[in-house]
């Protein structure tokens, strides 16, 4: 964006060479001083044009009005969400840059079904910044935010060993190195845990590529010390593929699960790490560390691969715990025709999975994220303690669970009457809230749970000695959450998480976000502000606490470029793990070596022979 003042950026940059060895108190002092100055500024970073009402045209049916931003100038606009030809669209008009229309949800009936499950959060009693600006220019978290954070992201570094052509985030292209010190990380994590009454239990260590940090194990240790009970590592898997000890070390240090990029099953659809994934999976398997595969889905690129990605996950279900599809979030500015080639939304991916699995995973098997809120409400009413509750916007995400047995895929909805169970728990929560005796309620739950489970249709493993029912009893009656681990074993979680971009941006979604980033100035920012308004949040804050590339290279005695990965495809495809992992999923032998090389090089990753 050209509207940002360069001078502002330069003025708000600390000398990180001086801060890197500073105490936590000194870091806090600097962060608290800088945070207010780094906030978006009205009139400079954005304007407000809410009086401009976007038009509705013939053949369009109004759903609602909301707020959004202009992709050109970030101005806050009124937007209309409407139905047309069975799909849901968003339209906004910027007085300076004209009309912008974008696909919001690819299936209007799915939109209406998902909306029925929306649950409203109760916000946070302790927040990080005063309320001084309209949403989304006040993130930090602000007192108006509707959900508490379920997952905190922390960027450990913006260095990366890959050089993907579309990425502007990594240090070489960004022109600075962002790599907070361990004390700085401790400060940020403490900031994230300030929230009340529900503290975020989960942390994702991300990047750049976090495994490039030599002190990664210390970061994991600090995360545990600061109270995060679930730590996940977000990685491209390259280092995990070549360093068997790394998987063991991070698991021992406290990582619960690895989130690994995996955009497809072939070199054409996954030139990022197609060749390394089999080796990474083997190392994770040896370490006993589960992994969630994370495909970013682009219509013209890998939408055709989603069914095979599910099958790949099921084939390696001994170590693959889940697949979390992320329909593309379009970065930068892109003309509408180009966007149409890429744009895909949650119901589009769900429909393709149904088609590509021959109807074994149907669209009705998926539930939006807030559908599980009655579970939290029930436990909260029972215990009297505020519980983590997933109250994100229904259009942000969806999920289901599947099992594979004798070649058949069995979704959870085949043997658990999910809607009826959720309604029952909601009803019992309301009774508890009105003062009904909790032991009477528990007794009723214990007796009636069986009516929501059809054991005959459950996977064999859950059928034996009524295990499915016992697990539900453990969770809802006995509050034994260790049962969840047993439930997840050999279960494949399938998720969807559609992060926004400047075109489909909706303030209603931002204000309900429960996946946040903790920033170096101590503010905690919703995912879609951090990454969508990245110049106002991610870039500005990280640049302020960064090294110059020159300083970093001098400090470490190495160069950024030297760390970039070079791929030896010939060696990788000739290894046994490669064939074993893809066998039955793709025809490995039909792909010429030249195609492998071309796919990697086009993506921006050089290929070597030795």
């Amino acid at each position: 964006m050209s509207h940002l003042r360069e001078v502002t950026r330069e003025e708000l940059r600390v000398n990180y060479l001086e801060l890197r060895d500073a105490s936590l108190e000194k870091i806090r002092e600097v962060a608290e001083k800088l945070a207010p100055q780094l906030m978006p500024k009205p009139g400079v970073d954005y304007k407000v044009y809410l009086s401009v009402k976007p038009p509705l045209r013939e053949g369009e049916e109004l759903i609602t009005y909301t707020q959004s931003v202009c992709p050109e100038c970030y101005s806050l606009l009124r937007a209309v969400i409407f139905k047309r030809e069975g799909k849901v669209w968003i339209r906004k008009v910027c007085p300076e840059h004209g009309e912008i229309e974008e696909l919001y949800f690819g299936d209007a009936s799915a939109y209406e079904r998902f909306r029925r499950y929306q649950a409203e959060g109760r916000g946070n009693a302790v927040t990080h910044v005063p309320l001084q600006a309209p949403c989304p220019f006040n993130c930090g978290v602000c007192p108006r935010h509707k959900s508490h954070a379920a997952l905190i992201n922390i960027v450990a570094t913006n260095r990366c060993d890959l050089s993907c052509y579309y990425c502007f985030f990594y240090a070489t292209k960004a022109g600075y190195v962002y790599e907070p010190s361990l004390e700085h990380i401790r400060y940020m994590l403490r900031q994230a845990r300030l929230s009340e009454p529900v503290k975020p239990p989960a942390l994702q260590i991300t990047g750049g590529e976090p495994t490039l940090r030599d002190d990664l194990l210390d970061i994991i240790r600090i995360a545990k010390e600061e109270g995060f009970t679930h730590v996940q590592l977000n990685t491209n898997g390259i280092r995990l593929a070549f360093d068997p000890e790394l998987a063991v070390k991070v698991r021992k240090a406290g990582v619960n699960v690895v989130y690994m990029s995996f955009d497809g099953v072939s070199p054409y659809t996954n030139p990022k790490n197609h060749w390394e994934v089999p080796y990474a999976l083997d190392n994770l398997r040896k370490a006993g560390l589960g992994v969630v595969l994370v495909p970013t889905v682009i219509k013209s690129y890998n939408l055709s691969d989603v069914g095979r990605i599910v099958r790949f996950g099921l084939k390696h279900n001994d170590i693959v715990r889940g697949v979390n599809f992320q329909p593309v979030s379009i970065t930068g500015k892109m003309p509408r025709k180009e966007r149409e080639k890429e744009r895909v939304t949650i119901p589009d991916v769900i429909a393709e999975i149904e088609r590509q699995t021959d109807g074994q995973i149907k669209r009705e098997d998926w539930y939006p994220v807030p559908s599980v809120a009655p579970l939290s409400r029930f436990v909260e009413a029972l215990t009297g303690k505020p519980q983590l509750t997933f109250t994100t916007h229904f259009a942000c995400g969806a999920a289901t669970y599947v099992w594979q047995e004798d070649g058949e895929i069995i979704p959870i909805t085949r043997f658990v009457h999910v809607d009826e169970l959720l309604s029952f728990l909601q009803e019992k929560a309301e009774e508890l809230e009105k003062g009904r005796n909790k032991y009477m309620v528990l007794l009723e739950v214990a007796v009636k749970l069986r009516k929501f489970v059809d054991l005959k249709k459950a996977p064999k493993r859950l059928r034996e000695r009524g295990k499915a029912l016992r697990l539900l009893l453990d969770i809802f009656v006995r509050h034994n959450y260790e049962s969840l681990g047993e439930f997840h074993y050999n279960t494949l979680f399938l998720g969807m998480m559609h992060f926004q971009d400047l075109y489909n941006h909706d303030v209603a979604r931002v204000s309900r976000c429960d996946i946040h980033y903790i920033m170096p100035d101590g503010r905690q920012v919703p995912f879609c502000s951090f990454n969508v308004l990245e110049e106002l949040y991610r870039e500005r804050a990280q640049r302020a606490f960064s090294y110059t590339v020159k300083d970093w290279e001098k400090l470490t005695g190495t160069s950024l470029i030297a760390q970039h990965y070079k791929r030896n495809i010939r060696k990788l495809i000739s290894g046994e793990p490669y064939r074993r992992h893809y066998e039955g999923i793709i025809d490995i032998d039909s792909i010429p070596y030249e195609d492998h090389v071309l796919a990697s090089k086009r993506f921006g990753i050089p290929v070597v022979d030795e």
């Binding site: 407000v48 809410l50 009086s51 759903i63 609602t64 009005y65 909301t66 707020q67 009124r78 969400i81 909306r115 929306q118 649950a119 409203e120 959060g121 109760r122 916000g123 946070n124 009693a125 309320l131 001084q132 600006a133 309209p134 949403c135 602000c142 007192p143 108006r144 509707k146 508490h148 009340e196 009454p197 529900v198 505020p386 916007h393 229904f394 259009a395 303030v507 209603a508 204000s511 309900r512």
Partner: protein, 149 residues
């Protein structure tokens, strides 16, 4: 100081129908005196104040107003600093009525500091909120129950 009163009916992203009233009381000589002022239409200038006064406490934001059919009035109340205030936000739905109590202090320079709020996330029972507000304000609980009625 702005007091917002409004009705809202929405079906997206949640189904909700409510009536919200806000009243401000000033502590004077151990009594709570209701402050009033002229009423006017809501404008774009009120957005941030609305979110601060209503969004932060009751969880209904400007974005919700845009999502549904709403009718909103703004009452401009003049407060002479320094002052201690009790703000009462009443949210009435079909099934339930909720009362949010906010105790603030307006300093000599006009800055307003929040001393207490029964935030919706804390699920504080109303009698506990009244007890806490009365303690901070130094008034009898009965004075607060009286204004709530």
């Amino acid at each position: 100081m702005k007091c917002f009163s409004f009705t809202l009916k929405q079906v997206d992203p949640i189904t909700d129908e409510l009536i919200v009233d806000t009243n401000v009381f000033k502590l004077e000589g151990g009594n709570l005196i209701k402050l009033t002022g002229p009423s006017r239409e809501f404008t774009e200038e009120d957005i941030v104040d609305f979110d601060r006064e209503i969004g932060a406490i009751a969880g209904i934001s400007m974005n919700d107003l845009l999502h549904g059919d709403s009718s909103i009035r703004v009452e401009e109340v003049v407060v002479q600093p320094p002052a201690k205030l009790l703000k009462v936000v009443k949210v009435k739905r079909k099934k339930e009525s909720l009362l949010y109590l906010l105790v603030t202090e307006v300093l000599a320079d006009g800055e307003e500091r929040v001393l207490y709020v029964n935030h919706r996330s804390l699920r504080v029972k109303l009698n506990e909120a009244v007890r806490e507000a009365s303690r901070i304000l130094g008034v009898d609980e009965s004075s607060i129950w009286n204004v709530l009625e």
